[in-house]
Amino acid sequence: MMGAASIPLILSVLQEGESYGYLIIQRIKVISGNQLEWKEGTLYPILHKLEKKGYITSSWKTSESGRKRKYYKLLENGQSVLAAEQQNWQSLNQIFSKLWLTQINSI
């Protein structure tokens, strides 16, 4: 279900502020009303890929409870990529809406 949407989704969550893997997944679950299903472990290679590309950065931090977590933060490069992705997805959304509306009307 995620596919090509995973990168803009992750970048959009990180635009809200820095976060760690578990929290990113929870945010996506909540916002999608639990409609998006994916194996949570597969999020990390995408995060690492985004970091390698210079879209995000990571650092280990210790929480108040003493737990260590790796936090990810959106970088300027990532902001620009996200802006481009938003445009693409909005264009696609318009195209699909028109196509499906025409099909529905012709039934």
Binding site: G41, W60, R69, K70
Partner: protein
């Protein structure tokens, strides 16, 4: 209902990390991050009627199997460190075999020809036995390395062992050739053999040593944060 009396979360996490590591594409830092995720998952499962073992099973399922997660890591990483180390180990074992069999052949023929006249039959038999000897040594080194890997769950140590064996066999061979005739000993072998015997193994050793050191630094860094 799962048996919570015997359930040890710490031990189960270790076992889970071992199974994830076996998928082949996850480094120590990846495992540390996934461990942090599964603990968060267990802590946030709000069904209080579930035992800790059941929560662990649910969290494990949500993260995905070792195969699924490992595949995702390999898709985004290309050739991983561990895959690279396997290729490196395979090359190291092959070169070790070649070097040892050359060493055995050089020493063996010199020794045996003093006592037995050389004919086709003795040449083939002696060659076969010498090469088998080299193969047995490489095979048992591989088995020892594998056992060490299972015991320590350390992906760095086996590489060090494999490359040490390669280095040791190359050095023994080099010393032997020099002892037997110095530069003449090297002339005895074509230039291309020297290239394969010394330059390529040495270059590979340097490359894999750098990879190992980088991975070791990452591990040290992730343990320190």
């Amino acid at each position: 209902m799962a048996n919570s009396d015997k359930f040890d979360l710490k031990q189960s996490l270790v076992q889970w990390k071992i199974s994830m590591a076996a998928a082949g594409n996850l480094g120590p830092e990846n495992l540390k991050e996934l461990e942090s995720h599964i603990i968060d998952e267990i802590d946030h499962i709000d069904k209080t009627d579930l035992s800790q073992e059941e929560k662990f099973l649910v969290a494990k399922h949500r993260i995905g199997s070792a195969k699924t997660v490992g595949k995702a890591f390999s898709l985004h990483k290309g050739i991983s460190f561990q895959q690279l180390s396997w290729i490196g180990q395979a090359i190291a074992y092959f070169l070790t075999f070649r070097i040892l069999s050359m060493l055995f052949a050089t020493v063996g023929y010199r020794l045996i020809l003093q006592y037995i006249p050389l004919n086709t039959f003795t040449f083939i038999t002696v060659s076969f036995l010498l090469h088998m000897g080299a193969l047995v040594i490489v095979f048992f080194t591989y088995k020892t390395v594998n056992r060490s890997q299972q015991r320590t769950q350390n992906s760095i140590r086996p590489n060090i062992i494999a490359f040490s064996v390669l280095l040791a066999s190359a050095l023994i061979y080099f010393l032997y050739i020099n002892m037997m005739g110095g530069v003449q000993g090297l002339i005895y072998f074509p230039l291309i053999s020297s290239l394969f015997l010394y330059l390529i193994p040495m270059a590979l050793l340097v490359v894999f040593a750098v990879i190992n050191i980088r991975e070791w630094r990452k591990l040290r860094y992730s343990n320190s944060v």
